[in-house]
């Protein structure tokens, strides 16, 4: 059976990766991943994505936590 490509959401600091059926907005992908938008930036390659950006199937995005402790 043919496996259609999905959106890959990588959370490198959590060492986690999820796949979501697209198209989806970044804010929806963050909700799916259980991440608040005020704590991350979202990138696709060298591009920074806004929260309303529509991500298509087959894309890989990185969710980078920006929260520093201490």
């Amino acid at each position: 059976m043919y496996n259609a490509p999905m959106i890959t959401v990588r959370l490198p600091q959590k060492k986690k990766e999820i796949e979501v059926r697209g198209p989806r907005r970044v804010m929806d992908l963050l909700a799916e991943a259980g991440v608040r938008s005020t704590t991350v930036i979202v990138t696709q390659g060298r591009k920074l994505l806004t929260k309303d950006y529509r991500v298509e199937d087959g894309a890989t995005i990185d969710v980078i936590s920006v929260v520093s402790g201490g």
């Binding site: 005020t38 930036i41 806004t50 929260k51 980078i64 520093s68 201490g70």
Partner: protein, 339 residues
């Protein structure tokens, strides 16, 4: 989404707290303006200042150094190698690479060579790593600044850091801490150098976006010692509020800094915390408090530490007392081991 400033390019950064979204070029202008306005409004820096920028390899400090250089300030970077396995090496690599990209060579202090690597020192004196780290960093900020004739030390604390600290201080009614919390800590002569936090108006998301868009390669992993830091709990609470009510954080902090706020004194009245005595015993310390360990005793003019000559309000400075405790603990362990 189009950029709200130029209205032509596609937006790359959306900032609900500013009701704005910017393309990369317009965001650079916005960000730098936020920083320079923060500097101007609180008179953090003067054009003739020699600025020692404390860089950890993380986004905030490298972005701070980048902006200050672009703004024409005379700067040098100071990297303190904390001696944390793996993490310190990776952080140092980022600092050295960034500095080289700007034609700079940072000043590097290696705590292992100084005989006080943070993890081992914490084990020896049974204190939290963040607490020791704060004491040691402050000592070297002052020492390197004095030796290098820097007029000011700049750190990368941002709006999220400052509001998290404010929330912690309020929740525990730390009146002394509240009175002193400010992006400007005046120097006190005798080797206590002025300290500033020029990123106080910008959030972590903004500094991360700036760093990413500028191609600054920073360390994204967190210090392994800070996993249980109390500041993260306060940041979590504030980010939940910010998510629902964008702009709350900056209103919270600006309101606190208002000179008419009775909870705090003006920076001119604030005694620097650097020479404050270190807590001697007990299960110290809330990580929230460590960057500005305060004390009821740190008022007046500092004197020279009897041991090293560093400015202190006690007989010997907190760094020397810490080193002495580590030395004793090592001797004790060695004696036990030889039995």
């Amino acid at each position: 989404m189009k950029c709200k400033r130029c209205r032509r390019a596609e937006a790359a950064v959306d900032l609900p707290s500013h009701h704005a979204a910017f393309c990369p070029d317009c965001f650079f202008l916005f960000f730098r303006r936020q920083v320079t306005e923060g500097i101007r409004k609180l008179r953090l820096l003067a054009p003739e200042d020699r600025v020692l920028v404390c860089v950890s390899g993380g986004k905030d400090s490298l972005v701070l150094w980048d902006v200050l250089m672009d703004e024409g300030y005379e700067t040098e970077g100071l990297y303190i190698d904390l001696g944390i396995d793996g993490y310190s090496d990776r952080s140092k690599e980022k600092v050295l690479a960034y500095a080289a990209s700007r034609g700079k060579t940072p000043i590097v202090v290696e705590l292992a060579k100084e005989g006080i690597p943070i993890p081992e020192a914490a084990r020896c004196v049974r204190m939290q790593e963040c607490s020791i780290c704060g004491t040691v960093k402050r000592y070297f900020f002052n020492r390197v600044a004095a030796e290098g004739k820097f007029t000011v030390v700049a750190t990368g604390h941002n709006l999220d850091d400052e509001t998290a600290r404010l929330l912690g201080n309020l929740l525990h009614w730390q009146r002394d801490h509240l009175a002193r919390q400010h992006p400007l800590l005046p120097g006190a002569g005798g080797g206590l150098v002025r300290k500033v936090k020029p990123l106080w108006r910008v959030s972590e998301v903004e500094t991360a976006a700036y760093g990413f868009l500028k191609g600054i390669d920073y360390v994204t992993e967190e210090c392994p010692m800070s996993e249980d830091a109390t500041s993260l709990v306060y940041k979590e609470a504030l980010s939940r509020i910010e998510d629902r009510m964008p702009g709350t954080r900056i209103v919270f902090y600006k309101g606190f800094l208002d000179p008419s706020n009775p909870l705090r004194k003006g920076p001119e009245a604030a005694a620097p915390a650097d020479a404050a005595p270190m807590p001697e015993d007990g299960p110290v310390v809330d990580a929230m408090r460590v960057t500005e360990v305060d004390s009821e005793e740190d008022v007046g003019t500092p004197r020279a530490c009897a041991s090293c000559g560093a400015p202190t309000y006690a007989e010997t400075c907190s760094f020397c007392r810490l080193k002495e405790r580590v030395r004793k603990a090592r001797s004790l362990r060695a004696a036990r081991g030889s039995r």
